[in-house]
Symmetry: C2
Subunit: 277 residues, 2 copies
């Protein structure tokens, strides 16, 4: 936080005859209004170390819990990795981003661990210290929907639930769409309005802004591919490669004449289906 | 378009000694800058009628094509409705919203059918005539992702593809997230910045803004419920109620020891599974 610029300017407007301070903070754009800003009281290694430790404890606890109490000690390695990912997402969405949604107005002046982390990160995206309506909206949806769904996905993995790939695929679509909007709004804001929310330094733009969000492009893309393949295989295995389950919009409506009606046996996987397994 | 307000104001700023017109358009907020705005040259019934006719032709054509050439004349009624919905979405996303993405800068002054429709609709959301970065971003993603995916969902229904419910569920998550952000950004913008993008009249707020977007809440919710049930049933039918398909993040990794490895037959649906069909 050694980038605080205090630019003093004067205007000719009668109501602003005295000097006006247009930036008392390190964020971009410099004209962003953050009147209550107070620099962090702790060092970067200290807050990042505490946060890293907290994340490690949460993820490791989830893994240990899943292996011990999930009744499934033979959870595959890739599923253990997915479980760690969803535990990480659940923690970040519900608590770290939840903190932002609840306390966004007081973050610039606050010195709690989470507030200091947000103030540090906001050098790569000042929308987090200006109560930006888009950030508040997307973060509230993240806290209310993607957070609980991340935890649900972790639970589904441990329980080997038939809902696992449904939840995982839905969550991945949400993550990919969300990160595309997150990057995209900044890109369009800069292109059409010339406003950049990130400081230009390598650390802030490439490490914080690009680097810290890139996992939400890469991992959901891999997990979505996994779920898509699993769902496709399941349908092919159940109903053959060219026929699908089919239900009405209203579950109460009869399935007259359809091969998947309740009185019809599920047909054995065809040769074609087996090829895909 | 009989709401055009021309407010004339003066400032004391030396560079603005002459009168400044702050609104030459019918949109909210009145201080929105839309210098090239030209009122629509056609009447509302005329442009709405043309658009309605166009939509009818597109949807009816998709339905006729699906019934005649899809090789599936016995497509269930609910699937025909879903097909019509996806054809409508595909048309709106790719063409109507595609027009906005391509020509957003010239829409306020243009008199093409689509431009006049956008100018009329923008009375309920002026972001469509101000090249708003969030709208451009979310609409570009809609055109590039949800548009083609809507067409893919329609094709999957006709072909009874095993990918149908995967595509449908992903698209529905996208639609629900998108409409939540669409409504949500306006809500937060009004709450935190006091800016309303909609004219307050019943027609604009309730019919255009709420009413025209509400189908993207209701229909995707119903279709997502349908797909969720179908995917769950398929997994239960294939692998039993407490066991799921399971693949690694890397498809090339071996499936050692797992019931769904390539050398293991798909087990017959259990009694429990049959109960759910």
């Amino acid at each position: 936080m050694d980038h605080i610029k205090t630019t003093t300017t004067t205007t000719h407007h009668p109501s602003a005859a005295r000097a006006v301070h247009i930036a008392q903070h390190p964020y971009h754009p410099p004209h962003a209004v953050i009147p209550s800003y107070a620099p962090n009281s702790s060092s970067i290694p200290s807050i990042v170390g505490s946060f890293g430790g907290l994340i490690l404890v949460v993820v490791a606890s989830a893994l240990v819990l899943a292996r011990r109490r999930g009744g499934n000690p033979t959870l595959r390695r890739t599923d253990q990795l997915a479980l760690c990912w969803f535990a990480l997402c659940g923690f970040l969405h519900c608590f770290f981003e939840g903190y932002f949604v609840l306390y966004h107005a007081s973050i610039p002046s606050s010195q709690t661990l989470f507030a200091q982390l947000w103030k540090e990160y906001a050098q790569s995206d000042s929308r987090y210290v200006t109560s930006d309506p888009f950030m508040l909206c997307i973060e509230m949806l993240t806290v209310l929907i993607w957070g609980p769904l991340s935890i649900a996905a972790a639970v589904c993995i441990v329980r080997r639930s038939p809902l696992r790939h449904l939840v995982q695929a839905g969550l991945c679509v949400g993550h990919l769409y969300g990160v595309a909007l997150y990057y995209g709004t900044c890109y369009f804001e800069e292109t059409f309005r010339g406003v950049s929310y990130s400081r230009p330094e390598f650390l802030y733009f490439w490490v914080y802004y690009v680097g810290f969000n890139a996992p939400w492009v890469v991992v959901p893309a891999l997990l979505l591919r996994q779920s898509a393949a699993a769902i496709r295989r399941s349908f092919v295995a159940s109903y053959g490669p060219e026929e699908q389950d089919d239900t009405s919009l209203s579950p109460r409506e009869g399935n007259e004449g359809h091969p998947m009606s309740s009185t019809v046996e599920v047909k054995a996987p065809s040769l074609e289906a087996k090829k895909h397994l």
